[in-house]
């Protein structure tokens, strides 16, 4: 006598169908969501790495936002300083013109007034603000840096401070975002406002116009040198932006590799489970037709 087998063939088919249904569900979920990871347990290590990837990607997005808002203020500051340099260049030529011996006192007075106008214009530029904040007052962003002051020899007083803020433009890379007015427009030997005041005075009194013009020239070259900070900073931001954009592309790609389903495989898996299901159902249909009772003689 042969071995007795489980007479309930359906239970075997049912097990097969259930296992197949689970696989079908998984494949369908992948196709529907386009993701191979749909819950943490699908691949815990990948899900965990996803957290780190997204933390980093989110930081990068923030750094890029920082860069874009900083680029705005740096450009405004840079162009303000270009105007300052331009104004000082004009002042310098006014000074040279003032040394002309054919000029009379009233001619020189007119030139002195022109210098005073330039002084005012530069004070205005030094008080440039962006988004409601002064660009050249150090970290005292809400304080107007330069105010006219007749008691001061330079004609102005600096109300800002000597500090500068730094902002991170990528992880661990901080960059100073401004120079304080006290550093931009003056140092131990040079002072933009003082030089203009001196030139104006020299023109009025027919004093050492030559010397005062040289003073303005020195101030001009000093400010020009300082201005390069802004150009360099914008370049630095551009570099950081390029780097961050590349890194983000990479992170997005890695995230995609971690998360996205391989559609071809998922669809193939899905149709495979369908084939299996059909086969099992067909076998199930066959079984029901085979029964000894069908062969018993009818009474």
């Amino acid at each position: 006598m042969g071995m007795r087998v489980n007479p309930d063939m359906y239970s075997v088919i049912l097990n097969g169908l259930q296992t197949n249904a689970q696989q079908e569900d998984q494949a369908l979920q992948q196709v529907a969501s386009g993701q191979k990871l749909n819950s943490l347990s699908d691949d815990p290590a990948a899900a965990a790495s996803l957290v780190n990837l997204r933390m980093q990607s989110s930081s990068d997005t923030q750094y890029l936002q920082n860069i874009s808002s900083l680029t705005g203020s740096l450009n405004v500051a840079d162009s303000a300083l270009s105007s300052v340099v331009e104004a000082l260049t004009t002042a310098q030529s006014v000074g040279v013109e003032g040394t002309n011996p054919t000029l009379n006192a009233s001619n020189r007075q007119a030139l002195a007034q022109q210098i005073q106008g330039i002084q005012q214009a530069i004070i205005g530029l030094a008080n440039t603000s962006y988004n409601g904040e002064y660009l050249f007052s150090g970290t005292a962003a809400t304080t107007q840096p330069y105010v006219a002051d007749s008691t001061s020899t330079s004609g102005v007083t600096y109300k800002g401070n000597d500090s500068a803020n730094s902002v991170e433009i990528s992880q661990g890379q901080a960059m100073p975002i401004s120079l304080p007015g006290s550093q931009l427009f003056s140092n131990a030997t040079t002072n933009v406002f003082q030089s203009l005041q001196d030139l104006s005075n020299a023109l009025t009194t027919n004093g050492n116009i030559n010397g005062a013009t040289t003073e303005v020239q020195n101030a001009l070259s000093y400010v020009s040198t300082q201005q390069t900070f802004y150009g360099n900073s914008v370049d630095r931001l551009k570099n950081a932006q390029t780097f961050l954009t590349q890194e983000q592309t990479q992170l997005t790609e890695t995230e995609g590799n971690t998360l996205d389903a391989d559609m071809a495989t998922a669809v193939t898996n899905l149709s495979q489970t369908e084939t299996t299901q059909q086969a099992l159902a067909q076998v199930g249909g066959q079984i029901s037709k085979l029964n000894m009772f069908d062969y018993l003689p009818t009474p």
Binding site: D8, A47, V51, M55, S69, S166, V167
Partner: protein, 464 residues
């Protein structure tokens, strides 16, 4: 010498026996789809022969008994695996809900809130006096605190749901053990009366199998037909016709129901069945997840508060606590840190972006943003700690799922084997039906033949 009437009596006996066998067949066919039913076979035996003159002559057939065909050892193995499978099923079902709370693969979870919180400080650093950026920091902090609190409460709700299931399951265990004890008694009574307790045994097997789905069981068959049941760790459940009910009692420390057997706390020694799965999720996995969330919250609260105090607000005032401060318990536990997490600052001006009191300084905003890269929770960054938590929760489920699949396969195999022994085969029953029918017809033919013979004999004496 044998007699015609003796032959008649043998044939009659045969008719009755074949009828009995047909009844067994009919019963098998009727129960072909009854869960837990084991097929029965009639045990036919030759009647003792008698001495007729010098010859021993057979006296026909008797139906000795009807036996259920089953393999008790196999049944026990199935119960063990059922126990394992049910435990894993209920654990996976519970933990699937837990992992859904942290489903970073679908973008739900805490990562976004963590990132937004740190980024809000990074953003503030570009423009530290900007009031909308300051407001942004407060909002990001509130969102973060809200997410932690919500997650922690959801975990607590899941845990309470599981606790309810534990007490319900204990109740079901008690119902089944009472049923088994009751069946034990009936089986003994039927056996003592010399009858076949097969169908009662089937019922008991079904009850035992259901019981093993709820709790791990060790079953011992005794000679009198009854079974005694204990947990695998020896907690008595059924002995003879007595069942020993499990009880539950609230543990004042955890607020959860502990399970008691015979007055002893057996909660942690339950080693299988739905009860184990529920208890494992309720007492191990969820509390461990909860405590990780609490540690993370406590780390963030303490680090943010400390850094805030190193700086100055927009008004130049010394920084104050960002979040409502959390004090760990005397034993160092951070329990409750996540649930109670909330922003303490009442005004955006209080965000301590400045490191020196100058309103426009951003030194401390940068420092606050950089807490993202500082080891503020158990020597890890918040991101790494959270990432490990994700790994842990995912692994809890995926390990249990793999085990579930393996046990499922074993169980399928065993069930198949069991059915190959005990299952009703309609082909087999149809064959039996014909066999017994033919034997019945043959016996009937013997009777009619003997009748003719008797008639012929009687006719011999008919006066003509």
């Amino acid at each position: 010498m044998s007699s015609l009437f003796g032959t008649m009596s043998v044939a009659l006996q045969s008719l009755l026996v074949q009828q009995g066998a047909l009844q067994v067949t009919a019963n098998n066919i009727a129960n072909a789809n009854t869960p837990g039913y084991s097929r029965e076979v009639p045990i036919l035996e030759e009647s003792p022969p008698i001495l007729s003159g010098n010859t021993m002559v057979g006296t026909g057939v008797t139906l000795k008994s009807v036996q259920s065909v089953r393999d008790n050892i196999l049944d026990l193995r199935i119960d063990q695996e059922t126990s394992q499978q049910s435990s894993l099923n209920s654990y996976v079902a519970s933990m699937n809900q837990v992992q859904a709370l942290f489903n970073e693969t679908q973008g739900t979870g805490l990562q976004t809130y963590l990132s937004n919180f740190f980024n809000s400080f990074q953003s503030l650093a570009t423009d530290p006096t900007n009031s909308s950026l300051r407001q942004g920091v407060i909002v990001a902090g509130q969102d973060l605190a809200g997410a932690f609190s919500q997650t922690s409460q959801n975990l607590a709700t899941l845990q309470q749901g599981l606790d309810q299931s534990v007490t319900q399951t204990v109740h079901q265990v008690n119902q089944l053990t009472a049923q088994v004890a009751n069946l034990n008694q009936q089986i003994q009574e039927v056996s003592n009366a010399g009858d076949n307790p097969g169908s009662l045994e089937d019922q008991r097997d079904e009850a035992l199998n259901n019981l093993s789905g709820l709790i791990d069981t060790a079953v011992v068959y005794s000679n009198n037909g009854s079974v005694s049941v204990t947990t695998t760790n020896g907690t008595l459940l059924v002995s003879g016709n007595q069942s020993d009910a499990l009880t539950t009692q609230v543990n004042s420390a955890t607020g959860m129901h502990d399970v008691y057997g015979q007055g002893t706390d057996v909660t942690s020694s339950i080693a299988g069945g739905q009860l184990q799965g529920l208890i494992s999720a309720r007492d191990d996995s969820i509390p461990s997840t909860q405590s990780s969330i609490d540690n993370l919250a406590a780390g963030l609260i303490s680090a943010a508060n400390q850094q805030q105090k190193d700086g100055y607000g927009l008004n130049g005032a010394k920084g104050v606590d960002f979040f409502t401060p959390f004090t760990p318990s005397a034993s160092g536990s951070n329990a409750g840190a996540a649930t109670t997490m909330a922003v303490a600052l009442t005004s955006p001006d209080q965000v301590a972006a400045s490191s020196n009191g100058t309103p426009g300084d951003n030194g401390n905003a940068t420092a606050l943003a950089n807490l993202q890269n500082e080891p503020i929770v158990s020597g890890q960054t918040a991101g790494d700690y959270y990432s490990n938590l994700i790994d842990q929760v995912g692994n809890d489920v995926s390990n249990a799922t793999s085990e579930q699949e393996a046990v499922g396969l074993v169980l399928q195999q065993l069930t198949n084997q069991q059915k190959s022994i005990s299952g009703v085969s309609l082909d087999e029953e149809a064959t039996n039906l014909i066999t017994y029918q033919q034997a019945y017809e043959a016996a009937a033919r013997v009777i009619s033949t003997v009748d003719e013979l008797v008639g012929a004999t009687l006719n011999m004496f008919t006066p003509s």
